[in-house]
């Protein structure tokens, strides 16, 4: 685990860098705000309603497909590392797995799930 100590120190430095630069800016910058300046930007007119509204379901479908293939990537990492030692047997095992997965991909394609609507 000692390999990760420098990484943690580095992360702490990054956080310190972000906080100090914001802090220094807070000391140097002017602060003259009035109501019109604090309005949300909407091409110069007054904003109509809040931005937090419902979104098309298409975004969630993409997220689902992503989840599927990201889990696949999790399987591929150890496979890619050990393929040299395991040889062709491991290759055919993964090929079978990917074949089954690609049937699912083909189904999603035919159903139009990969089209953006």
């Amino acid at each position: 685990m000692s390999d990760y100590v420098p990484v943690l120190i580095y992360a702490a430095f990054i956080l310190a860098f972000a906080v100090t630069s914001l802090g220094v800016a807070a000391l140097l910058r002017p602060s003259r705000s009035y109501d019109a300046k604090l309005l949300n930007y909407e091409c110069g007119s007054e904003p109509i309603g809040a931005a937090w509204v419902q979104f098309p379901v298409g975004f969630y479908l993409v997220a689902l497909v992503f989840l599927l293939f990201d889990v696949l990537a999790v399987f591929l990492f150890p496979w890619a590392l050990t393929l040299r030692d395991l040889g062709l047997a491991a290759f055919w095992a993964m090929a079978l797995f990917l074949f089954i997965l690609s049937l699912g991909w083909l189904y999603a394609y035919r159903e139009g799930m990969l089209d953006w609507k």
């Binding site: 580095y10 807070a26 393929l83 040299r84």
Partner: protein, 325 residues
């Protein structure tokens, strides 16, 4: 103590390099458009321009929209910045010249670099601005779509090298850079560059920035130092991915005289700069494409193509391993 010093130097070096990358990009873009670019601040050729920009942004007023979700809005630039700088923790600049050469270096890089989406979405959501939220939704949609091809292409060098350690991947290219492997290497490199451009939201995949329709995307409400941090994070991330490309495909620090750490680091930075300029070249040459084209390219073309490429590489590696099933 040595670690603290190394971390401090690395942070400063990365921030300095990235600050000057903005200058390189502006000069490069200017030349492509027959302009001169930044010229007035500092002689010769306006070399002090990035410093002037930084000072200007530090002393600008910080405007927080009254309707914004304040904690989320204020935290977003920090959350956005941390992963983009943290990816440099495992990058070896030359043999032994790097902060931590983790044995899962590549996995660490991919995991941390995809955390950037969180900051992006926080910024878009916290602003309570319609442009910002639209941009954030598009951004998440696009980045996760290209995450899969990106990881799959990054796995091809892993297959060839048999290690996730970035320095071991470079050493495996001592005979032949992975980009020079017949057919496989070139196709993998092209797929990698496409996935890089898309996950960096650069033209032609910049629907989330889209200055002509969404003004500047998720950072439209940010000003002053927070804007500066977001810009810094974006360029840092781009430079980080360019470095990864140099390590995975272009042989990292390998080159004539690379036994010396300084020469090795120079080769490495030169290769990273090459990928950065490649992406910049594409940026200033192409037009923006539509969202359905972007997603279609990822899910219908790039995903099956990279999977086939990965399996072809795997077959070759398995054949050469000598074990017969």
């Amino acid at each position: 103590m040595r670690d603290v010093l190394a971390a401090f130097i690395l942070l400063n070096a990365v921030v300095l390099i990235v600050t000057y990358l903005t200058y390189v990009e502006r000069k490069f873009a200017a030349r492509m458009q027959s302009r001169i670019g930044p010229y007035r601040v500092g002689r010769p050729h306006g070399w002090l321009q990035p410093i002037a920009d930084a000072i200007k942004l530090v002393i600008k007023e910080d405007i927080i929209p009254a309707l914004a979700d304040r904690p989320v809005y204020n935290l977003a630039p920090i959350v956005f910045l941390i992963p983009s700088l943290l990816i440099f923790a495992t990058i070896p600049f030359a043999p032994g010249l790097g902060l931590a050469d983790l044995n899962i270096g590549l996995l660490f890089f991919l995991a941390v670099s995809s955390l950037e989406i969180v900051g992006l979405f926080m910024g878009g959501w916290g602003s309570n601005n319609k442009y910002a939220l639209l941009s954030a939704m598009r951004g998440v949609n696009q980045i996760i779509s290209y995450e899969v091809p990106f990881v799959l292409t990054a796995l091809i060098p892993v297959l060839l090298a048999g290690s996730l350690q970035l320095s071991a991947i470079v050493e495996a290219q001592r005979g032949l850079w992975f980009v020079a492997y017949p057919v496989l290497g070139q196709l993998a490199f092209i797929a990698f560059v496409i996935a890089t451009i898309a996950s960096e939201n650069r033209v032609p995949f910049d629907i989330l920035e889209a200055e002509s329709e969404l003004v500047a995307g998720f950072r439209v409400e940010y000003s002053g130092m927070k804007f500066a941090l977001i810009q810094l994070a974006e360029y840092t991330h781009m430079f980080g991915v360019s470095c990864l490309g140099a390590l995975l495909f272009l042989g990292g620090w390998l080159g004539p005289g690379s036994a010396h750490p300084v020469v090795g680091a120079a080769w490495f930075l030169l290769k990273a700069l090459f990928i950065f300029l490649l992406v910049t070249w594409v940026r200033w040459s192409f037009v923006r494409i539509r969202v359905d084209q972007i997603l279609g390219l990822s899910w219908k073309v790039l995903l099956p193509a990279t999977l086939i490429l990965l399996m072809a590489t795997g077959f070759w590696v398995a054949l050469r391993s000598g074990h017969v099933a």
